[in-house]
Subunit: 320 residues, 2 copies
Amino acid sequence: MDIVKKIFYRDRYALSKAISIIENREDGYLDILKDIYKNTGKSHVIGITGPPGVGKSTLIAELAQEFVSQGKYVGIIAIDPTSPFSGGAILGDRIRMNDLELNKNVFIRSMATRGGIGGIATTTRNIIRLMEGFQMDVIIVETVGTGQADVDIINVAETVAVVLSPNLGDDIQTLKAGMLEIGDIFIINKIDIEGADEAIAYLENMISIAKYPYKEWMPVVIGTSALKKMGIKELVDAIYQHKKNLSASKGIPKRNERVLQYEMEGIIYDEFMNRMRYMMEHDPETKELMTEVYNKNIDPYTASQKILEKVIDKNKFNGK
Amino acid sequence: MDIVKKIFYRDRYALSKAISIIENREDGYLDILKDIYKNTGKSHVIGITGPPGVGKSTLIAELAQEFVSQGKYVGIIAIDPTSPFSGGAILGDRIRMNDLELNKNVFIRSMATRGGIGGIATTTRNIIRLMEGFQMDVIIVETVGTGQADVDIINVAETVAVVLSPNLGDDIQTLKAGMLEIGDIFIINKIDIEGADEAIAYLENMISIAKYPYKEWMPVVIGTSALKKMGIKELVDAIYQHKKNLSASKGIPKRNERVLQYEMEGIIYDEFMNRMRYMMEHDPETKELMTEVYNKNIDPYTASQKILEKVIDKNKFNGK
């Protein structure tokens, strides 16, 4: 049985192996991605983002447990370098994660730093695809929300949840840096500590004055305490509600089209860059041009235009 | 007098105007970049990175003051969304920044969120170039060090300083996420608070066991307190020492070549993506192909290859 079929029949080892093949672009990686494509598109991809220290990982662990208790298969992809899923954070967190990892309905994968060959965005999309091929019901992608993440979470996730702490003052820059616009659901985690009510009210006010592209959905604010297992069911309900709402409206097709175009641009980009880099390293004329730029005899814009024309002109291109 | 000449003669208004033209890609932006290129390459570009809250901005303000007191011209580019230079952080910081901004030898520019058209990396490089054309002696680029910044600071800076607080436990993920490898100088800021000596010793130990690409330079650890103006002169000395060392070794040409290749790849990439997006939106065959992928009749990898071939084949390409 080939690896794609094994993944479809929920062989965890095959999934794990395929992810490594894709991350390292080993022989046959493209065939796996091509074959698996027809089985994809049915998982609900949820992006969880927010600044470090707000308890994203613990929350994700609880969220996964809740989904599992409903009989669902859950994939988790951690791109946050501070995440315990990624080997970061403190020992207590690691142990909690390990419990989760033992559950056969949960598959956790953390991204290697810098995301392997092709960059974090491409690798994330490919891992999502493999998990979709495994028939995951839910795929949770954890990123650190600095507002400048390598992965634009809205380009891979259908539902985006932004996690903040009641100590909103520290997180306000996160909101400023674009997070307010991308959140479908806002979570104030650690609601048992002081200031939670004020933080929720403040956030709801900010949402009421912000502008959102999809008028069908107004972001909601949920209070949770992952450590005390509070608010998790409410969060799951909100996630379902958002999904239902997107399906009823034109939201999902629109998002999916955008995600697909973004993905294809990435694939084309990778291939193009490979050709260009090959030329920069092997084509004598191109190398000469680089030296001229280096010596300031020609500016990089004029030189780049010439190189682009060479890559684009098949007859002049001697690359692989 | 044209704008490039005005910039060369240190006209602050012209510099400010040119930066806006470049950020927004207004008419003539490419001519400015082409013209200014011959005047570039003489500034010392220093990258300052590190997690939020370690006092990067206050340190940069003190560093700039020290350079200015030595008669130097200093450009500052803030890409960190949490930076007071970028309008973030608390009021006290803003006021301190404003003092600095009044100094005629200092020019501060914060990047618009998401860096304007062309992305943060491209825009940063272009602003550096304009500041070089202004004959800045030193250009300081401030980024937030999450290990996944949009700007790979080593691709724009000759000297990279990583700022950490004595409370290293919180910052250890930053080091794990690649910061240990890129720092030429490590700064423990707030050395007046507890744990500073231990943090310095710990860092020095980590450096001694890490591997660095340039054997000519072993990273140094400097203790500073920006608020109490401690260690600033030592930091400046370390920066000079690193520059001197790079100049004496083959370090600078190697770095500059890498930086230039990285930049040209960016320029070529932008142009290529413009053509590709134009085709995706306007070419009927390409649009049909996208629909087929969307309906899962063809996988995105096969389709992307076809689109790439169309972009590369001049005769088939009907774009602008």
